[in-house]
Amino acid sequence: MWKGWAGAVGAAALGASVLAAGHAVAKVEGDTVYLGAAVSLTGKYTTAGEHTQRGYDLAVKAINDAGGITVGGETYRLEVIYYDDESTPARGAQLAERLINQDGVAFMLGPYSSGLTKAIAPVTEQYGVPMVEANGASLQLFNKGYRYLFAVLSTTEQYLASAVALAAELAEREGRDLATLKLAGAFENDPFSQDIRAGVLEDAAKFGIQVVVDDQLPPELNDMAATLAKVKAVRPDILVVSGHSKGAALAIRQVQEMRVDVPMLAITHCDSADVIGKFGAASEYTLCASQWAPTLSYRDDVFGSAADFAVTFEAAYGYVPPYQAAESAAAVLVFADAFERAGTFARDAVRDALAATEMQTFYGNVRFDETGKNIAKPMVLYQIQDGAYVVVAPTRWAASEVRHPTPPWSER
């Protein structure tokens, strides 16, 4: 009996020592500096989580292949320690603790989604660990006074603002009274999409557009037939749908299946859901909010132009990079730049260098305001035209005129 207990105690001691050994990985080990990241490799954000990880990996590889980064006269390689947050904030917060405390990581890359970023940001903030994130766009992240959080992407209220503005502009051109314009919206019930909703409603109010449908979609997005039935009945001029990759695919599929005729359909996450590949001609005319497009004219020294990044990415992973991959790669570039300017791996020096960032990447210009969000890069609006994503707004980047209105299904 006592032997048994001795064995149990021995096993527990062994377990504790194995756990304790994890701390051996320092933030800078030899010539390698470690970044930590919790990304969604399982669960509802799997698709986008993978794009995120691939963006990080590609940038790390590109930087290392080009000789690494020079900090304080010495060259270092980058490496990322990953964990799978299972798309749940509870796990994300725990893994952030683990990365910081047990793996000794002093610099964090962001997770995918605003919800996960909301869970992880308080942890990194309290430990004073700088985090550059690329996939948490919710505006609420930037009104909490976080000092160690930096985001390379445009925030949520900008996502579909250009779509609403475009609808208003087109209506004015036709000589229509904006008050007769009707907007229907369906938004997933999660932090990101609810923020998108707030932005869309605000823009609609600004232009005096009536909101005739305002639905919530459940996070287990499998069906939005009820919303679309309403849309068919009230015949709005614009239908706006936001629900990450699953929501994008669902909207295109069911609008087609139910033959919903709407002059303008604007959604988020088209490219990460690969709606062209999945639905082909049925996805034509759809407007998509995007953080980035390969046709934009930004460039940097690591990847070259936006188009070069797209080529490199496609060669590595076999598909055109969605913006989630591009912005994730940009986050790594921002860190590398800050390390070199700081000239040290001291957290606060790196944090101050990040705050002073002013650079152009293939993804766009990066300059953070005092809340940590990037204010130097606009959103773009794609339209799917002849099986390709074409930038149609804002005018400065537009490669083509918007095709409007979308013809009814009977003529397609």
């Binding site: 009996m1 207990w5 105690v9 377990g15 504790a16 194995v18 756990l19 304790a20 701390h23 490799l41 399982t42 990953y82 964990y83 799978d84 299972e86 798309s87 749940t88 904030p89 509870a90 796990r91 917060a93 725990q94 893994l95 603790e97 683990r98 405390n101 047990q102 919800g115 909301k118 869970a119 308080p122 942890v123 903030e125 309290q126 430990y127 919710s138 609420q140 909490k144 997933e188 019930n189 999660d190 932090p191 999409s193 609810q194 923020d195 919530q216 459940p218 996070p219």
Partner: protein, 324 residues
């Protein structure tokens, strides 16, 4: 296991609970989570193991506690600790009230019917919280930041959960030795007979569920603050994670035993932290295999298996403590 040895084991665990946060300070967050999981498994076992009523809805009480606590912290303007204490108490009170109300309705159902009825509770609560603006709807709530460095916060939660786990364990150990414990077991073994003998089974079942709800309300109340983010489905009414885990941990250790849930939660948490984090994307598969493995090889849990394997010790245990 004799009573003396049980006491020694309990003392050893108590010493570990006090020493561990200082012995391995980098692991405080995980230690706190371990004790929280122990509480979840223990409370699930009150109805699931001792009474034979498998509830898949206990996550409801956990989530209610979490929301109540953060809302109290948000709206009362008290200082951090006072608001947290008041919030946890409020959460526990609401959870217990809900258990009485819901219990008086659905605890009349037996077996699978009860299990299925409870399955809906957590899901419904998640939907309600996700659509209710007062609770932040789908955007969730952010609790106030802990007013001290993070390692102090982790120490606080590690001890808070340890104290709560130890109290729960002691209370349940005492409770299972009374007539009340016997009545619960009688309901599990044959509810009709128990009723025929004059036991007011409904009252016992509701009381058992209410105790579980009360403790889970406290646990959830602190968990919102420990995790730093309240999401309707992913942290509060997280049926797919905490909700399933509490059942799994109790069964893994051996349901219907005092030590089983403690053992099950410990094994589960250490497995998860040691192995899963290194499987990158395959940990759910590993969890699935573990569940299948438990059901096939250890249907009675680790303690149940040990009993069959070493029946002599089991005899000794029966004599020592009445029930193990």
């Amino acid at each position: 296991m004799s009573a003396r040895r049980q006491q020694l084991l309990a003392l050893g665990i108590a010493a570990a609970g006090i020493a561990l946060p200082f012995a391995i300070p980098d692991f405080r967050a995980q230690i706190a989570m371990l004790w929280a999981l122990v509480i979840m498994a223990q409370t699930w076992d009150i109805t699931g193991g001792q009474t034979g009523y498998n509830s898949f809805g206990n996550i409801l009480f956990f989530g209610v506690g979490m929301y109540a606590s953060v809302v109290v912290q948000r709206d009362t303007g008290l200082d951090y600790y006072a608001a947290l204490a008041l919030g946890m108490a409020t959460g526990a009170a609401i959870a217990a009230t809900l258990a009485v109300l819901l219990g008086s309705m659905i605890l009349r159902m037996r077996g699978h019917y009860f299990a299925i009825a409870t399955l809906g509770l957590g899901i419904a609560a998640g939907e309600i919280a996700g659509g209710w603006d007062y609770l932040g709807a789908g955007s969730g709530l952010s609790p106030p930041l802990f007013p001290a460095p993070p390692q102090t916060a982790n120490l606080f939660f590690a001890y808070l959960y340890f104290a709560l786990a130890a109290l729960t364990f002691a209370a349940l150990a005492a409770l299972y030795r009374t007539r009340f414990g016997l009545a619960l077991n009688a309901i599990r073994d044959n509810e009709d007979k128990a009723e025929a003998m004059g036991l007011r089974t409904g009252l016992y079942k509701i009381t058992a569920w209410t105790i579980a709800a009360f403790v889970l309300g406290l646990t959830g109340g602190a968990m919102g603050n420990m995790l730093g983010f309240v999401d309707p489905r992913d942290t509060a009414f997280a049926g797919a994670t905490f909700g399933v885990w509490m059942v799994l941990m109790a069964i893994l250790g051996g349901k219907g035993t005092l030590w089983g849930p403690v053992l099950g939660a410990t094994v589960f948490h250490i497995t998860q932290e040691l192995l899963w984090t290194h499987l990158l994307g395959w940990q759910r598969v590993a969890l699935g295999l573990i569940i299948v493995g438990i059901v096939v090889f250890f249907p009675q849990g680790i303690l149940g298996w040990a009993r069959t394997r070493w029946p002599a010790r089991h005899e000794q245990r029966e004599q020592g403590s009445g029930r193990a």
